[in-house]
Each structure stands twice: as structure tokens, then as C-alpha cells.
Symmetry: C2
Subunit: 414 residues, 2 copies
């Protein structure tokens, strides 16, 4: 195989700019899945792939995912993933950096001989921006999609998801047939911008992802009795908001004491929500995240205990309703080590960190050894046109993914 | 003068029920000021007054307030006040208990000789339920109403306040001429339901009111930076809601440590208010009340200090905007003592307490010695059809007001 230095990371950055020119604009990226602009972006990608020497096939599967294959001595396949789709008014990097870095790796590696097969995949509709279901293409291929759960989804114009899919040649009830694409897959690699502030604050360009957080998401509702702000002495109040405020603080404080977990109060609603009464009712969301299932369960238990203790002290009742949960999805120890090697070779130093957001890699990690690389996000911003990463760091990330692909193919042949 | 025992407190309770029959119903009282039902209630009251022997005149002033006068040896006048108007779906006692207890006192006292003049007044539009301006009639008479401040008020059907007044024979720009009614007034007395839980919790039927709280009402706004709940570690967050929650708790805790003051968070708004982000912005209302101006100022200063300290710790900024303020209005020491005597005579024990809500008495207290009596409210409820007081306590309150009127006339003659 040729040496890793031969990847043209500059070309990848220029191609990112070319794509932004084509499918972005003053208000940001417009590559929302199942739209005309997204199709244009994919046609552009397909055009680039068609120029690569050594690819046996470029095809779209039943879920609308685009695959390119560079056959190796073995049918065992290492996958490089990304997604061309963006949120509306999105950034120039989220998803397409992954794809274009994979394209560059394919460009260098496809013409060479290799011990195992190398494939890249552009997942359809990672963001779920139009219909609200993220990871649509990768979950179909992974087999976790339940078609009936999404059949009635509509976009804001009332277009049904199955009709939008059909316009792009995808039949909802056949999407899961794409699972056959994974038949020989033995490893999945993905590069992504961090979408958080950790690497920037450590002054590091690159990191290796430990896995995606498990999430426990609840609505927490406190019920007391509202009454007039003037006539009710402090010591006889049953103030639901004060109970919620103290609980939110306790949830945050517990998370702040632990290592690399999250606890977030998002929505907050009170009633009667007027200046002349304290509140008899308050609901708020709590989103807890941890990479370790035991830690996550303990956080949830501690939060419930704290809310019940505080509710008792404030003379109110508290109820918890689970809104959503997902288990932690740890990545492969062996591939994490290979990721460290690749990052250290191109950037001098590596750092391991969990992923806050979900990624297509989470769907693949249930089925095969998986790892992701993160590249620094400036100010932690994403899903906005302000999303950015210094070009020299983007170049490092392209080189690191290439090296990781080479190392993973070597690892996979055994 | 006849002895105090001759007031017919049972008749007053029966008249309250008669009024409820006429102007209430299954959804509560319907005596909203400047409506047909309110006019009916006043016609009913006027009919009762016309049967009283010894009244020199019954008249409506330029502000729509209804006056009845029992002349005494001196023109100096003791006033008994109340308001027939209610909120929509209101209770059977708020406002009309005051008026009917005064009616009963007039009925007993008007036929007798007395050292000073005794007058009763039914204030127009205490509640401000239709146009949002409370104490309308009494503030016009007191001289604090600014007609231009209310000229453009509309009800929810778009009817302008001046037009509604006109239908009831009141011209907005002449309302303040009613100030002449106070020319010889030397004391103002008012009975009201407590609208709070204090007397019920002390198992007392009656109390004497020390004055109305001063109020400092602010919007407190915290600004940080929202970001994703997964990707942002706890220690780099600038979470506006956590800062607000900690501040709300601090405001409450400071008030709870002081004697008989209030601090209330009412509305709470956060942004972006979604489950997957912590909040970069939060505004909430703070309503602080105290009977002592120095205490109120200190509470406000302490709250500002706490919010700024917490904002600094949370990496957010905080801004305060005053929404409204009113100074404390203490009642007359001498009349409070007479009130204690009257209450102790009819109920065995008195208790002094501040008033949370404002009352017409607050407008009068700026101009002359004033005091109020409170009668127990069950569960502290008012402004709802569930508002209630045991009938035996209502009877005690009618007797106490009568005794207080007698004592105040004696006091006023000197």
C-alpha cells in the first residue's frame, strides 16, 4: 500500500468549499434529505466517485443509502460512513466532512491492492430534519427502523414521509432489505466534527470517540397549590416552582460532581404563570447522559431521590414520566486504540471523549466494531451557518481518517 | 347610642345570600363593574338604603361611587367602605361583605343621635376585572387616578373604558371631582375577607390589618448561551435557567428568614425551551412585599446581590427591570387599637396582620386615619366561587365592624 502521506487533504477542503458553493449560500447549507438540493449534492458526490479508479460498483440501496465498493483480497469489508444531508440553514461540515474525507480515502486507497474490501456509504437522512426521524437510512440498514413508527410522519407542508421517499425511488416497506449491505462488514469508521467545545478548549485538533452516551429523558412534574403572592405567608406555601428550581439545581450539581456526564433541564412550564401568584404546578424536562449504563442508572435514581426529598420539604408532590431512553453505545476498544494511533501520528497527541449527539455510527456499533474520530468545532457550534473548523484541522482530520482506514484494514485481515 | 348587641348580624348573612341568589349562580358571582348585573346589585343595595330611617341623602358621585349619609352633631365624617363589584366567577363575599356589614351598621346607627356624621360608600370598580385598572372609583376620589393612563383601556370585546363609564353616567374627565366627598372625612373603616390562610391557621375568626404591603415587582432576566445537552460538558455551560433557579431559591429563602414578608416568582420563561439543549435565556418575575419600606428596600438589594453573585458563578449576565412598585401604606395606630378592642369584644382575641392584596382602604389611608378588619377565609381562597367563610364568623365580623364604627365616632368627636 502507498504511504499515508499521499492523501491530498487540501483537495478535500477544496471539495468541501465546492459543495458549499453548490448547496449552501448566505443562510447556510440547504442539503435537507429528500429534497432537490440534497439530490444535487449526491449527484455531485457520485460524479466524484465515478472518477475513482478501482471501484467495482457505485449503487443506491433500498433505503436510499449510496454505496461505493473497492474490492479487496477478502470479501470482509471495512466501512467508511458519512451523510450528505444537513439541517436547514446548516453548516458546511456536519455530515459532508465525513463523506468527503471518506471520498478522499477511497480515491487514494481504491487503486491499490488491499487485504480486505473497503466500502464507503453516504447514509440517507441522518438529520431527520424534514420528518423528525433522525438516522433513518442507517437504522433501516441496521434493522432497528420500525416502518410503522414513521409511516404517518409529515413535513410542515403536510407531505407524508412515504411519498417523499417514493420521489427518490425509496419504498418505506423495502428499506430494511438494505441490511444485506452489511453481510461482510467487519468494521465501521466515521469522522465527524465534535459539535462541542472539548477539543477546542484542550487546544487539540482531533480526538477519538469512546461511544455515544446513553440517555434518560424525563418530564418531571411538581404539583402544589397556587395562591396569591401577597396574602400567603412564606411558611404555608406549596410552591411547585421553588421545588422544581431546587431540584433542577440538585440535578445539575450531581452531574457536575461526576466524570464526563450530562444533566440538562430543557423546557420549563409553570402555572398559573402570573406575577401575582406563586405557582401550583411546574413541569420541566431532565435529559441525563452517561457513557456507562450503571452510572446513568445511578444518576437517575439520585435525581428521583432528590426531587422526592425536595418535594416533601416544599409540601408538593412530584411525578416522573419517561419521554425517551437509549442505552449507552460504547465503541470498540480495539478500534479506539487504532484511532489513538492514527490521531497521534498526524497531530502528535490524542484525546478520548464521548459523543453527546447520536450519529449513524451508533446504529453500526450495535452490529460490528465501530469507532469515530472527532475534529475540533469552533465554539462548539453546529446546526448553524456559524459552524466552523480551522482548515488546517480539517486537513489533519482527513489524514487521520485515511490512516485509520489503513490500520483497520490491516487489523481486519487477521 | 344603643348598645352594640342590637346589630342584627344574622340579617346581614341572609342579605349576602339574597345578593348571591340575585347576582351569582352555579359559576359564582357576576357583579363585574360597569355591567348590567353590577347595576342590579347596586339597585338592590340602594333599595335597602332607602328603607333606613335617618339618612339625609343617597347619591352617586362623579366617579360612580354610591354614598349614603347619616348626619351627626358634627360634619366630621367617619366612612365605612366596600365594593359591590366582583371578578367574573367570583365569590359571594369579596367586596359585598364589606358593603352589607356597613349597611347593617348604618341601619342600626342612622336612626340614633351621634357625635359625628357617619357615611357609607360603595366604591365603583375595585376589582378592575373588565378593564384591568383596580381601585378605579376610590383612586378617582382620592385624586391619584390619572385619566390619561386609563383612557385607552379596552375590555376583551374592544369596548373602551370611557364608553362603558358613560353608559353608567360617569364621565372619565369628571371622575376626580368626586374628591369633594372627602371634605369632612376624618376616618375610614373597611371590613374584608382575609383572602389568605393566616387567621384560619391560627383558628381566629377576626384580625386587625396593619396596612397594605409595599410591593417591588421586577422582571429578572438571565442571559448565557444555549448549547446541546449532549455535547457540552457541565463545567463549560453558561446555563441561564440554572442561574435563575438558584436565584429564585435564594429570593424565597431570604424572605422565609424574615418576619411577615413575601417573595414570589410568578412567570418563568426559558429559551430555547427544548429537551436537547440547556437554556441560554431565562426571565422570571419577582414580586416582593413588606409592610416596612426599609425592609422592602433591603430585600430588593439582597435579591439583586444574590442574583449577581449567582450569575457570576454560572457565567451568565443578569438584568433587572422594574414592572411596578407601590410603597407600603400603614394604617392608623390609633384606629388599629380601636380595631383590636372591637375584635376582642366580639371574638375574645385579636390578631394584627398585614394585607397582601390592595384594597380601597389603601387609597383612603393616604388621606386620613384608616383601618381594616379581616375575617377568616377558608383555605385562603378568593376570586373563585369556592371563596367561603363560616357563617358564625361572618356574623362576628358584622358585629365587630359595628362596634368599631361606634368607637371611631367617639374617637373622632374629640
Amino acid at each position: 500500500m502507498r504511504s499515508a502521506e499521499e492523501v491530498d487533504s487540501r483537495r478535500a477542503v477544496e471539495e468541501l468549499k465546492e459543495l458549499a458553493e453548490l448547496t449552501g449560500g448566505p443562510d447556510g447549507a440547504r442539503r435537507v434529505a429528500w429534497t432537490e438540493t440534497w439530490s444535487e449534492a449526491r449527484d455531485w458526490l457520485r460524479g466524484k466517485l465515478e472518477q475513482i479508479e478501482g471501484l467495482s460498483e457505485i449503487e443506491t440501496d433500498e433505503a436510499g443509502n449510496l454505496w461505493a465498493t473497492a474490492p479487496g483480497e477478502s470479501e470482509k469489508a471495512v466501512l467508511l460512513g458519512g451523510h450528505m444531508d444537513s439541517v436547514p440553514n446548516g453548516g458546511w461540515l456536519d455530515g459532508c466532512l465525513n463523506t468527503i474525507a471518506a471520498l478522499e480515502a477511497m480515491r487514494v486507497l481504491a487503486p491499490q491492492q488491499r487485504p480486505v474490501t473497503l466500502r464507503m456509504v453516504d447514509w440517507a437522512d441522518e438529520e431527520g430534519a424534514r420528518f423528525g426521524r433522525s438516522l433513518l437510512g442507517s437504522s433501516a440498514t441496521a434493522g432497528t427502523l420500525v416502518p410503522d413508527d414513521v409511516r404517518n410522519l409529515q413535513d410542515r407542508d403536510g407531505v407524508a414521509l412515504p411519498d417523499a421517499l417514493k420521489e427518490h425511488g425509496v419504498e418505506l416497506d423495502r428499506m430494511k432489505e438494505s441490511h444485506r449491505e452489511l453481510e461482510n462488514a467487519v468494521a465501521y469508521l466515521e469522522l465527524h466534527i465534535e459539535q462541542g467545545p472539548v477539543l477546542e478548549r484542550m487546544d487539540l485538533p482531533l480526538g477519538v470517540v469512546l461511544g455515544t452516551f446513553g440517555v434518560e429523558r424525563h418530564a418531571v412534574r411538581f404539583t402544589g397549590q397556587h395562591a396569591h403572592s401577597g396574602s400567603t405567608p412564606m411558611d404555608v406555601r406549596r410552591d411547585a416552582f421553588v421545588a422544581a428550581a431546587r431540584s433542577a439545581t440538585a440535578f445539575r450539581d450531581d452531574a457536575a460532581r461526576r466524570d464526563d456526564v450530562r444533566a440538562t433541564t430543557g423546557f420549563v412550564n409553570v402555572s398559573p404563570a402570573i406575577v401575582t401568584a406563586f405557582n401550583g404546578w411546574c413541569e420541566m424536562s431532565l435529559d441525563q447522559r452517561a457513557l456507562d449504563a450503571g452510572v446513568l442508572a445511578d444518576m437517575l435514581e439520585k435525581a428521583k431521590e432528590a426531587s422526592e426529598r425536595i418535594a416533601g420539604e416544599e409540601g408538593v408532590s412530584v411525578e416522573w414520566e419517561r419521554l425517551w431512553r437509549i442505552e449507552p453505545i460504547p465503541f470498540s476498544e480495539e478500534l479506539i486504540s487504532l484511532g489513538d494511533e492514527a490521531v497521534t501520528e498526524v497531530a502528535g497527541r490524542s484525546h478520548r471523549l464521548p459523543s453527546g449527539p447520536l450519529h449513524d455510527a451508533a446504529e453500526m456499533a450495535r452490529l460490528m466494531p465501530t469507532v469515530m474520530l472527532f475534529v475540533k468545532s469552533l465554539r462548539g457550534l453546529s446546526h448553524t451557518k456559524e459552524e466552523d473548523t480551522p482548515e488546517e484541522d480539517l486537513e489533519l482530520s482527513v489524514r487521520a481518517l485515511h490512516r485509520l482506514a489503513v490500520k483497520t484494514m490491516e487489523w481486519a485481515k487477521e
